[in-house]
């Protein structure tokens, strides 16, 4: 059951990443590229989590990957506020 939900979350994250990629293409704002990569990484992370024995999120690999993904989001926010317009 849990791995099915994880798979669905992984899929949704990848689709969201694709949308953000399109927004990046339309606006040329690298903010969207960073969000796309973050969501794609989280999607892969959740997918891998689903493929293994599921209650593994205390394994360093999984939470480090999530840290990286959220770190990208923070980086996008910092970048957005430093240069103003990165278009």
């Amino acid at each position: 059951m849990n791995s099915v939900i994880l798979g669905a979350i992984a899929m949704a994250s990848m689709v969201a990443a694709l949308f953000f990629l399109r927004f990046w293409r339309d606006t040329r704002d690298r903010f969207f590229l960073l969000f796309a990569i973050a969501f794609a990484i989280e999607g892969i992370n959740r997918g891998l989590l689903g493929l293994t024995v599921v209650s593994q999120e205390h394994e360093p690999f999984f939470y480090l990957v999530r840290l990286f993904a959220f770190g990208l989001i923070l980086m996008a926010i910092v970048d957005k506020n430093r240069s103003g317009r990165s278009r």
Binding site: F23, D26, T27, D29, F31, F32, A76, I77, K80, N81, G84
Partner: protein, 130 residues
């Protein structure tokens, strides 16, 4: 050519606040009769656009501080700017539009047709404009 004719601050205003010619026409239409309440239907008839499009435009103008809405019987809008500076800018846009129709329309048509940039702009911590 457009760069010389339209002042930079007006150009910025148009690029940020005006998404379509219909929206600009609606704004100026309501501005011409500030004591009149307009419904989306009435605006749609005057501008020869669909009522749905008209409704979206009026909602957007209201949210951006150009109009106020009064939900009496059905939703009606009236021209009322949020600040005198905004009113002045709209006046300048109106004057420019009446003289330099083509450059202003070209400027608006050159914009990307999407609001998605607002998603990224939401993460700007300091609001430099309102």
């Amino acid at each position: 050519m457009v760069d010389d004719i339209i002042p930079e601050d007006v150009k910025q205003f148009i690029l940020e606040r005006i998404d379509s010619i219909a929206q600009l026409e609606a704004l100026l239409l309501l501005r011409d009769s500030p004591q009149v309440d307009w419904t989306a239907n009435a605006v749609a008839k005057r501008l020869y656009i669909g009522e749905q499009e008209s409704s979206v435009i009026l909602q957007r103008l209201c949210a951006d501080g150009f109009l106020i809405a009064s939900p009496e019987k059905s939703l009606v809008y009236r021209y009322h700017v949020r600040s005198p500076d905004l009113g002045q800018t709209v006046d300048r846009v109106a004057a420019l539009y009446s003289i330099y129709l083509i450059p202003v329309t070209n400027l608006i048509h050159a914009k990307p047709r999407t609001r998605v940039q607002e998603f990224a702009d939401a993460f700007k911590l300091k609001s430099d404009k309102d």
